[in-house]
């Protein structure tokens, strides 16, 4: 028995030596894995980069498996996704893994980036590692956008339209750019083919090459040591200090530090699997038929904030902002390590960095939240599905009730809410009469303004009369009606008398009291 074990070991060693003598890679790889790293960075904060890599491998594997069935043709893509969901054994699970893996990957890449930024790890000598990392983030987002197009449904179709419309705003080459993106004059088979090429060949190739460079530089410079307040990075001394720290406190990366990476990677993979299993795949939504216009297109989660920003930009600013802001943002990220390559690393000594992360995170969060319920969009069926609350019809004259019908029929509810139900595009009307006088309401309805269309052409005088008389009954919890301060002035007997009491009347008017 003992001799058998011995001979197996010998055979194994000989096999290894045969291979290594010819390949020459196993030894260097083992050495690289076991390289010493400062003990202070064997931390749970340092696990996100490896988790992102693991997720990338998951995406590559599930992507290859999906490509076995998926048909990248505008004619068949949507059907092949439904076949994957319903007819191919475990096809739904593969789609779910790929979709949830994508969301997790974006999240982990962003967390990784924030951690590296707050720890100041992008400073000398790791500037290029950060720059490559920024490119990797953009490539990851590129995978997310092209992946959304792969799910060739209504949202994908109109999302391409939004992308093309943004590209069309580029000065001079807008039209050529649109044709280049679409692969022709319209969104169609050529469009899907080129997004498939990007999603499956071009971007993954760049992504893998970029990750290779990124990891190579991590090995070359070592994982950054834990930042300490007051320990400044200087180009002249940093590498020597890092080397000494490694010599003094170094532990082998594998296994002493890497076990945390491995545990976290397993947890993330498990989370992806759990989400995929319990929540299932994303879509596909309705078929990509452009004649089905009863749709409210929306991008995937990662791009909701852009979708929201586009609703708030004033028309005259939209093109300049769209052309300039991304350039500045990306340039800022790329130049960051070159402009701040030395100095303090610890977050406690970099308040501006902490403030920037907080402001950006809150901003993205708010816009994403807004993007989930799009308060700027009219609710297209509010006028037929949300009746006037009965309490607003009690004790009303026939004319006022006729006005309620006008309000409903003219689709006012698509943009204006009553009792919390209806569109949020315009102000809610529950207490409109306590903030506007009758004249002001008439003017606002007929001439529009302040982002409200003019309804002068859509209402005849009797409809207007009825509508306004109904609106005049809407005074919240029986607030006082709005008054026109200037009217009270003209009613006073003499100019001087009015003038002397003007201040008092203004105060009354402002507080909504009758003079």
């Amino acid at each position: 028995m003992g001799s058998m074990k011995e001979s197996v070991t010998t055979a194994g060693r000989k096999g290894y030596e045969w291979l290594e003598h010819r390949l020459g890679l196993l030894r260097p790889m083992a050495d690289a894995a076991a390289h010493p790293t400062p003990a202070n960075n064997a931390s749970w904060w340092y696990v996100f980069g490896s988790a992102a890599t693991v997720l990338l491998i998951l995406q590559v594997m599930t992507g290859i498996l999906l490509a076995l069935v998926y048909s990248p043709s505008a004619n068949e893509a949507w059907t092949s996704l439904n076949v994957l969901n319903h007819n191919v054994a475990l096809g739904w699970y593969l789609r779910a893994l790929h979709g949830w893996g994508s969301d997790f990957m974006i999240a982990i890449v962003l967390i990784h980036m924030v951690q590296v930024f707050l720890f100041g790890s992008y400073k000398f000598p790791r500037e290029l590692t950060w720059i490559v990392g920024v490119v990797l983030l953009l490539l990851t987002l590129g995978m997310a956008f092209t992946g959304q197009v792969m799910r060739f449904d209504q949202d994908a179709y109109w999302g391409l339209g939004i992308g093309a419309s943004i590209a069309s705003r580029v000065p001079y080459i807008g039209a050529s750019l649109v044709h280049l993106i679409l692969g022709g004059a319209i969104i169609g088979g050529a469009t899907l083919s080129r997004f498939f090429t990007l999603h499956v060949f071009v971007i993954p190739g760049l992504l893998l090459a970029g990750v290779g460079m990124h990891v190579w530089m991590v090995l070359r410079h070592g994982v950054s040591d834990w930042p300490m307040p007051g320990r400044l990075v200087r180009k002249s001394t940093y590498e020597k200090e890092y080397h000494e720290l490694t010599q003094r406190t170094g532990i082998p990366f594998v296994p002493d530090a890497a076990w945390k990476d491995a545990v976290f990677a397993a947890a993330i993979l498990f989370a992806v699997m759990a989400c995929a299993f319990f929540f299932g795949p994303f879509g596909p939504g309705g078929p990509p038929d452009p004649t089905i216009i009863q749709t409210a297109p929306k991008p995937d989660f990662a791009f909701l904030w852009i979708y929201a920003v586009l609703a708030f930009l004033p028309p005259s600013l939209e093109t300049p902002v769209l052309m300039v802001a991304p350039v500045l943002g990306i340039a800022g990220l790329l130049l960051l390590p070159l402009l701040a390559s030395e100095g303090e690393r610890h977050w406690a000594r970099r308040p501006v960095a902490v403030l920037m992360v907080s402001v950006i995170a809150v901003t993205l969060g708010i816009f994403t939240r807004l993007g989930t319920y799009t308060p700027w969009s009219p609710i297209m069926d509010a006028w037929t599905s949300n009746p006037i609350p009965p309490k607003y019809l009690h004790d009303r004259t026939p004319l006022e009730r006729e006005g309620a019908i006008v309000l409903q029929n003219k689709q006012c509810r698509n943009c204006h809410a009553l009792d919390g139900v209806g569109g949020l595009r315009g102000p809610t009307l529950d207490s409109v009469a306590s903030s506007l006088t009758e004249d002001q309401i008439v003017r606002q309805v007929l001439q529009g303004g302040g982002n409200m269309p003019a309804y002068g052409n859509a209402l005849n005088p009797s409809e207007t009369k009825a509508l306004v008389s109904f609106l005049m009954t809407l005074r919240g919890n029986d607030l006082e009606p709005a008054v026109d301060a200037s009217r009270s002035l003209t009613q006073t007997s003499g100019f001087h008398a009015a003038r002397s009491s003007a201040a008092a009347k203004d105060t009354n008017a402002a507080s909504g009291q009758k003079p």
Partner: protein, 211 residues
């Protein structure tokens, strides 16, 4: 001097340092540079058609895109109303499937006078919907709104709806269709210069309820 035969290519200056050897190989260095130049030339000749292929769709002349296409009988568009029509894009390709279908809004102003609007919002291309009662087109994406004649009413669009050129051929309405309409590829193909930033119409965005 070794007693063995020289390997082919082994030269007599074996005792020199490699750098000095390289410096001495002037003919080989010259040939190498020549070969690099040759590859650059071949690479350029190879690259031109590849790039041409890649940029092919962007190079198409705008005028060549699109053609006249009937979208329905005149009788299907009552005077004074706005109806949804659809057609199969004349520039569709073999594998476009359902995406070759295009919708448009047809407004019959009078017996012989029409307006044919693109379905795409002038803001970011989402499909606008017509509301006959309030006489507005509304966009589901970012809340753009247009009047019945296509003028911008409110919201983020910086111009009115895109309009197709149309003509009446016998009993049918014919429009000129091609490009998906965007700010730089307008549906009308009127040969106008590219519209980039058209000033937001003469509307006032001052105060919200300002009387």
């Amino acid at each position: 001097m070794s007693e063995f035969l020289k390997y082919p290519g082994e030269s007599s200056n074996n005792d020199l340092a490699p750098e000095a050897k390289a410096a001495a190989h002037t003919r080989r260095v010259f040939l190498f540079k020549l070969a690099v130049g040759l590859n650059a030339l071949v690479g350029a000749v190879l690259a031109v058609p590849l790039i041409g292929y890649l940029l092919g769709p962007a190079m198409k002349k705008r005028a060549s895109v699109g053609s006249w296409i009937p979208i329905g009988d005149l009788s299907s568009f009552p005077v004074g109303e706005t109806r949804l029509a659809e057609y199969r894009s004349p520039v569709a390709s073999f594998d476009d499937g359902e995406t070759a279908k295009v919708s448009c809004w047809v407004r019959r102003v009078s017996d012989q006078q029409f307006q044919v609007f693109a379905i795409n919002c002038a803001h970011l291309g989402c499909p606008v919907r017509w509301f006959a009662e309030s006489k507005l087109f509304m966009c589901p994406c970012h809340g753009g709104a247009y009047y019945e004649d296509g003028r911008r009413a409110s919201g983020p669009p910086e111009r009115g709806l895109f309009e197709y050129r149309y003509k009446i051929a016998g009993n049918s309405l014919v429009i000129h269709a091609g490009d998906m309409p965007t700010l730089s590829t307008e549906a009308s193909c009127k040969g106008k210069p590219l519209v980039q930033i058209r000033p937001a119409a003469d509307e006032t965005r001052s105060t919200s309820w300002g009387a």
